[in-house]
Symmetry: C2
Subunit: 424 residues, 2 copies
């Protein structure tokens, strides 16, 4: 019988069992972390050979330009290598330092202080600025727009991506809406990929604000976990078809391809957008780390297909972890009505929706029993999940044994919190 | 006889000779560059062994934390290594990416958007913001404050540093003055080092604006060219004595120690300032490239004395170049009254002051004859040298042979432009 269908006595019994189970796990005194989308040790090891790709002996043979000042927008070989990741021509790429988050922050900051393009009013002078946030979403995105004081508006995520009826209506009516955060592929945290129709509608938006910008964070564009990966329609091409070339910035990085702390990050955008970016960027820096760009180019022998092959090695490490999570959820919670989740075809997370009002309690119970999760609410602007339901599970960092233990504790916590809730 | 003392006929003769000489050089069709403070090939070679300091085999032995996300303010070993460069305790250091210019830009941008500290009004909301610019100075500094729309005020440089009478008066009277650019050691371009008194007076400023900040760009702090290097009083300690702990940000980098494009840059500041920086920095990025930090730490075996020893190798390459410049100037222009310059004890430049109204013409003549110099005026805000006198000579990048040729052309151009000027 499903707990949601139990009478009070049955529920009390269910709760007692859940409590006993939870207390047993708690007594183990574990310390496990499923909080952040961090690659684990085995994954990092895959890229360590990259450190030998550019030795002192190699350096003696190559142009000094690599080591010196200059090259504001990155080395051509790196643009070429990573352009297919963004799905844009290489001339529409700027290669930055190690962090796509930093590019996004700087892009918001630039629009805020100087405007989104030549002759456009800085957002700081536009009165109240509003921003669309598909939810659940990525906490670090929301943190940027919160810092700049933008009013964030929740947009429900469907299985096709953000609810485009809502997006279209809001964007076309309200000039103060200047942007939207999107993780179009294997979305953080839901794992879904925007449907072709969603991408088409996104590219065809007719915003009231002419400086409306889509922040297309394609963080998981090649981070597949199956033989039948999702496919994402090419936004850049769709924008062109609609004459909306300048409406999006696209971001990606090798943070979860090579090293999270020492990868390279890229921006893809229209010619006009890149020109505008470079106008202030050339005041901000003389250029990013070209040695590390070249190290990446050499590691992959300049070929995008080698990047994809590398991602298959990442998959081999990650797929079993995701299977542990979804199989354990299915086995213990499937059909109980105590939660829902989707097995993603890629990305870094499993998004779990608990009974309403239970997420905070589950995260707290897990914490008490030694399992750190992303804070409940973190997947919503201002950390406020209106239904207190969503929890982001990040299975990549722990070992498989640790992950199994952590999931046992998670499941015990879900049962206990649900029983408490249902008993009222 | 000095050209400035010649009569018209003598001058005409002088001009004719200068013209003949200049045309001969021009006919050589050379292509030489003394425009930017770029290290040359031999200098870059000194640091190439650093590329072997962190191999895949090494990586297998060290903590994965180096490769993963995290470590917002840099690895402790790097803080420790570079703290003496800034002259601050290691807990007062944040290690960034490859560019101190980027830190300066971000610092201005942060103050502009969010204020210079907790509870302080953002500069964007302060009406007209003014900024003190010791002149001649560094064009990339001026470009930042120009971009943000600050009104830049020229402050004359003396042989002791910025004219502190002017600085004290302006800063204490005008609340709209929010900052000053300083290159306190081997200043760009004059090469002088601020005297102890200048540093003391700078640290003891009583600004009308409580959010006034000294931007202390110590870019050449260890870039000595003699056995008797200049010494700079420790600003951090002087600020403390005056209770002005929060009044400065200090910047430095290894751009001209290891690789200009792939070094590490550091910020030194008070605890309160760093806390404020990190408050927004943690939204901007998860952290900078720790692998490159560790590479630097290993290259120098974690010891600042090894950094200094490395700079002696740099000096061995650079000192002859600076000698070529100053000896040729002395031999050809010494006592002529056609220009003045100071032989610096360190840094990257020789600052040349021509006869008033001649700098642009000299740079143009050089360009015509194939020698690229920093644009005349570049050492002043808005590119406007009120007397059209100052030219920045950057001797580091060309080979010694090229440098000699370039200086011959420079000197010929000075003579010709001066003769033209004196003839009226």
């Amino acid at each position: 019988m499903r707990p949601v269908d139990m009478n009070k006595d049955q529920l009390a019994e269910f709760k007692q069992a859940a409590e006993k189970c939870y207390e047993e796990y708690k007594a183990l005194g574990l310390k496990l972390n499923m909080a952040r989308g961090k690659p684990g040790s085995e994954q990092l090891a895959l890229s360590k050979p990259m450190l030998d790709c550019l030795t002192a002996a190699d350096a003696a043979e190559i142009s000094d330009d690599i080591f010196n000042y200059g090259g504001l927008d990155g080395i051509p070989e790196a643009k070429k290598l990573f352009a297919p990741m963004l799905g844009v021509p290489e001339e529409n790429v700027i290669v930055f330092g190690n962090s796509s988050l930093n590019i996004m922050y700087d892009t918001v900051s630039r629009c805020y202080t100087f405007g989104a393009g030549e002759g456009l009013k800085p957002w700081k002078d536009c009165g109240k600025v509003k921003w669309l946030c598909p939810v659940p979403g990525y906490d670090r995105h929301f943190a940027i727009t919160e810092l700049f004081g933008f009013e964030m508006i929740n947009v429900p995520m469907t299985e096709q991506g953000p609810d485009m009826d809502v997006v279209e209506k809001l964007v076309s009516e309200d000039e103060s809406i200047k942007g939207i955060w999107c993780v179009p592929m294997y979305a953080n945290p839901t794992g879904i990929t925007y449907s072709d129709e969603t991408v088409r509608r996104m590219a065809a938006l007719k915003p009231a604000a002419k400086d409306f910008r889509i922040f297309w964070d394609n963080a998981y564009c090649i981070h597949h976990l199956t033989d039948t990966p999702d496919k994402l329609l090419n936004l850049f091409e769709e924008l062109k078809k609609n004459g909306n070339d300048d409406m999006a910035y696209q971001f990606a990085s090798t943070s979860k391809v090579t090293f999270p702390g020492s990868g390279v990050a890229v921006l893809g955008a229209s010619e006009a957008n890149l020109k505008w970016v470079k106008k202030t960027m050339t005041i901000q820096t003389i250029g990013h780390d070209k040695v590390n760009m070249l190290r990446h180019v050499r590691f992959f022998d300049g070929k995008f297909e080698n990047v994809l092959a590398h991602m298959q090695k990442q998959r081999a490490i990650l797929e079993p972890r995701f299977n542990i999570v979804t199989e354990m959820l299915e086995k213990e919670l499937g059909g109980t009505g105590l939660g829902s989740w989707v097995k993603p075809n890629g990305g870094y997370f499993v998004s779990f929706d608990a009974l309403g009002g239970c997420a905070k309690r589950i995260v707290a119970l897990c914490k008490e029993a030694g399992v750190t999760l992303t804070g409940a609410g973190a997947t919503f602007p201002y950390g406020k999940d209106p239904q207190d339901r969503n929890i982001r599970i990040a299975p990549t960092f722990p070992s498989t044994d640790e992950l199994k233990k952590a999931m046992e504790i998670f499941i015990a916590s879900v049962k206990l919190a649900s029983a408490e809730k249902l008993l009222g």
